[in-house]
């Protein structure tokens, strides 16, 4: 009994000693010891190496800045730090960034990866491979291509209304997509999915650097078209919207179109749906793209427009449809020119006519530029927002009551 008691006490003491070691996880890194990378730029370096630039948040400065009125922060210090490193591989470059930052780099909060134009032309597989394999990375991280170098995008200090340029870039892509549908929300997940499919090519947002209120500021502008992992060319903002119409990525946005009299009018997009049907005619594929969308009248410069007449709205629908058709055709033409099936038409055949796809999939790259595509757009203009007819100078109300004024009905 005595011995048992002694043994259990010894075990107890040992257990308590071990317990004391438990709370501190080993190989831990506190937040203050880490450099949180929020934006990463990758360029072609010298001698086939990769030039990696990183924007890293300095948490202490970030907090100080938040508290200080006026947002100036302590001595005007930026809440972030930019460094670059050159190495043959991404992983190696990331470690070299740690040297420059003096801290362990940490990628869990990476918002956006920007690829320089020159590297993108040679293929971005080194970047996507590293992001996909690393455990810290999230595939929802945005992927964009710089029209110039990625370094200048990462170094651009303009941050819009945000404090960190990277946060600005992310929210700018998302906000611009939602309000205008002229940008693609491209992340690594979507990119890798499109690359892996035989009948679809990826598209990523394009980023340019310009001067905004005295600071260099990066901003999205159009998109980059890939063939496999290689940059093939660019889409303008209009072509990007055409792309979104076909792929069904349209959110909100404004369509500006000319009325028959030459005046401009604006319509808000209130959502759209796209159906693509593939069929085989004489052994070669044919596509029918069917776009249905809703729009509201947002603005008209033709003050005589009779917006209280149903016929007018029908006429406006035709104008909207034509404008959308132009956007779609411009995107189609550009994709054909680049020889990149960014719409995933190949995948549509694959799903709808699997047997036919097997015969042409090997040669799809050559077939796509010449494949016939019929586009049908059906717009329905539903509302005129909070106003009826435009306010005209003069006896606006009297005319409405006593006699029909001159009205343009389209």
């Amino acid at each position: 009994m005595q011995v048992n008691k002694l043994v259990s006490r010894i075990i107890m003491v040992i257990a308590v000693v071990f317990l004391a070691a438990v709370p501190g996880c080993w190989s831990n890194y506190e937040l203050e010891r880490r450099a949180l990378v929020v934006a990463l730029g990758v360029d072609k370096g010298s001698a086939g190496r990769l030039l990696v630039s990183a924007q890293m948040v300095v948490p202490s400065r970030y907090v100080t800045m938040q508290r200080a009125p006026g947002g100036g922060g302590r001595g005007g210090e930026k809440p972030y730090f930019v460094a670059s490193a050159e190495a043959p591989t991404m992983a190696e470059a990331a470690r070299m960034l740690a040297k420059k930052a003096g801290r362990e780099v940490f990628f869990s909060f990476l918002e956006i990866v920007v690829i320089g134009k020159d590297l993108a032309k040679e293929g971005i597989a080194p970047v996507t491979e590293w992001v996909n394999r690393a455990r810290e990375q999230r595939l929802r991280t945005l992927l964009a291509v710089s029209a110039g170098t990625a370094k200048e995008v990462v170094e651009a200090s303009g941050a819009g209304l945000e404090r960190i340029p990277a946060a600005y870039l992310r929210s700018s892509v998302l906000a611009f997509l939602h309000s205008s549908s002229r940008v693609v929300r491209s992340d690594f997940f979507g990119f890798l999915t499109d690359v892996s499919l035989p009948g679809k090519e990826p598209v990523a947002a394009r980023i340019i650097v310009s001067k905004t209120s005295g600071k260099k500021q990066a901003q999205v502008s159009g998109s980059a078209v890939f063939r496999g992992y290689r940059l093939a060319g660019w889409l303008t903002e209009t072509e990007t919207r055409g792309y979104l119409w076909i792929t069904g990525g349209i959110r909100r946005g404004i369509i500006s179109a000319s009325l028959p009299g030459g005046e401009e009018a604006a319509f808000t997009i209130r959502g759209g749906r796209t159906k693509i049907a593939a069929s085989f005619v004489d052994g070669s594929p044919v596509f029918n793209i069917d776009i249905k969308m809703k729009a509201n009248v947002e603005e008209t410069h033709d003050l005589d427009l009779a917006l209280d007449r149903p016929e007018t709205l029908e006429g406006l629908e035709t104008i909207v449809e034509e404008q959308i058709s132009r956007e779609v055709q411009s995107a189609l033409a550009m994709a054909r020119e680049l020889g990149a099936d960014i719409f995933g038409l190949g995948e549509v055949i694959h799903r709808q006519c699997p047997a036919g796809w097997k015969q042409i999939c090997a040669d799809w790259e050559n077939i796509f530029p010449h494949v016939p595509v019929k586009v049908k757009v059906k717009a329905s203009v539903r509302r005129t927002e909070t106003s009826g007819n435009p306010v005209r100078p003069g006896k606006n109300s009297a005319q409405a009551v006593w006699g029909r004024p001159r009205r343009n009905i389209i």
């Binding site: 080993w26 190989s27 869990s108 909060f109 996909n132 455990r135 999230r138 595939l139 929802r140 997940f189 890798l192 999915t193 892996s196 499919l197 995948e347 694959h350 799903r351 709808q352 699997p354």
Partner: protein, 367 residues
């Protein structure tokens, strides 16, 4: 008797579910997708039927020998020597299959979350807990699982719920692009997982109502099939073609979701139930291995066996495979026929012998 405790039907169903679910959810989506591509969901249906058929064999054996484990009745059926060999085979097999599970869990943890922790730490920690639970008996294990399983299900449910908005219907087409062969090929590695109901070969006598083994297995298999179906739908619908490249698609799903603007990077949350579930799974197998060894050598107490087996288990899981690629290769391509032979083949042979030789309790035919 070695084991005085009894578990209820419900606890048995729960135990079977937990002893299959953690690894099947984690590893199967990738393996099935590699073989069956967008038809992987069909493979799951196929494999559920297989699971039911395997359960039928085990359930019928249990009906004939409600008070005995396979180690005991195999002696009765094929004589002391051959029967003893079968007992030894099962005692060893439970250890062997368990060493796969221990290594899988440890590899998953090192790969995804604990980059700098040596793998031996997870193996030792797991084995320690497992031996501790086994020494407390089956009833304790059943109650532990009553807490663990709801946690796993809640976590999985939340994951599937958050992933629904990102599902893409087109990922499922074309259906049966290359015929039925890929569906079968995809289901092949999954068969081993769905035949893991064979733990009932050891557990039947300790059910409060041993005759219920058949419905217990059927319920568990149907539930597992349904859950696996939901998960494979989510995986195909979201990660699509990339599933073939992701080693742990469900973890990738967790990485893709952003439940809200403020709540991001939630994937470590799904880690907790996984460790719990994995531990219970290993405990069930370890319990079977220990019980089989104790019965084989006609011991009165299995406490020491649990410890010795635990040490063997830990060592095996560390030395059997060089790397994770070898482990995955063996699970997907090498072991299925051998494992299926032991999980279903031998019980089937024993059942046939019992039926022909009119051994055990007779099934009342016609009812």
């Amino acid at each position: 008797m070695l084991e005085e405790g009894r578990i209820s039907d419900r606890q048995a169903v729960y135990l079977i579910i937990t002893s299959i679910l953690p690894t099947s959810i984690l590893f199967l989506p990738h393996m099935i997708y590699k073989g069956a591509r967008q038809d992987a969901w069909l493979s799951v249906i196929l494999i559920t039927f297989f699971g039911l058929a395997a359960g039928e064999v085990i359930g019928r054996l249990a009906r004939r020998f409600p008070a005995q484990t396979i180690v005991e009745y195999s002696r009765e059926l094929v004589g002391p020597y051959l029967g003893g060999a079968i007992g030894l085979l099962y005692a060893g097999f439970f250890l062997y299959i368990n060493s796969f599970v221990v290594r899988e869990l440890a590899e998953m943890l090192t790969t995804n979350f604990y980059e700098e922790t040596p793998i031996v730490v997870f193996v030792i920690a797991t084995v320690f807990v497992v031996v501790y639970i086994v020494r407390h008996g089956l009833e304790v294990l059943g109650r532990v699982n009553d807490i663990v399983l709801p946690l796993i299900l809640a976590m999985l449910g939340a994951l599937v719920l958050f992933i629904i908005p990102t599902l893409k219907a087109q990922n499922f087409f074309p259906v049966l692009e290359n015929g039925v062969a890929p569906v079968v090929r995809g289901g092949f590695p999954a068969a081993v997982f769905f035949a893991e109901t064979f733990v009932m070969l050891m557990l039947t006598p300790y059910l409060a109502r041993p005759d219920e083994t058949r419905p217990v297995i059927a319920k568990a298999v149907l539930f597992l099939g349904g859950l696996q179906f939901l998960v494979i739908l989510a995986v195909i619908g979201v990660t699509g073609e990339l599933t073939a490249n992701f080693l742990f698609p469900v973890l990738d799903l967790a990485r893709l979701i952003r439940p809200s603007l403020f709540l991001t990077n939630v994937d470590p949350l799904i880690l907790m139930p996984w460790i719990l579930g994995g531990t219970v799974k290993i405990t069930v197998f370890h319990y079977c291995a220990t019980l089989a060894a104790a019965q084989l050598f006609r011991l009165r107490n299995y406490g020491v066996v649990a410890v010795i087996n635990g040490i063997i288990l830990g060592v095996l899981s560390l030395i059997l495979w060089e790397d994770v690629v070898e482990l995955a290769e063996q699970i997907a391509r090498v072991i299925p026929p051998y494992f299926l032979f032991i999980q279903v083949g031998i019980p089937l042979v024993l059942l046939v012998i019992a039926v022909i030789g009119r051994k055990g309790r007779q099934e009342n035919a016609g009812q």
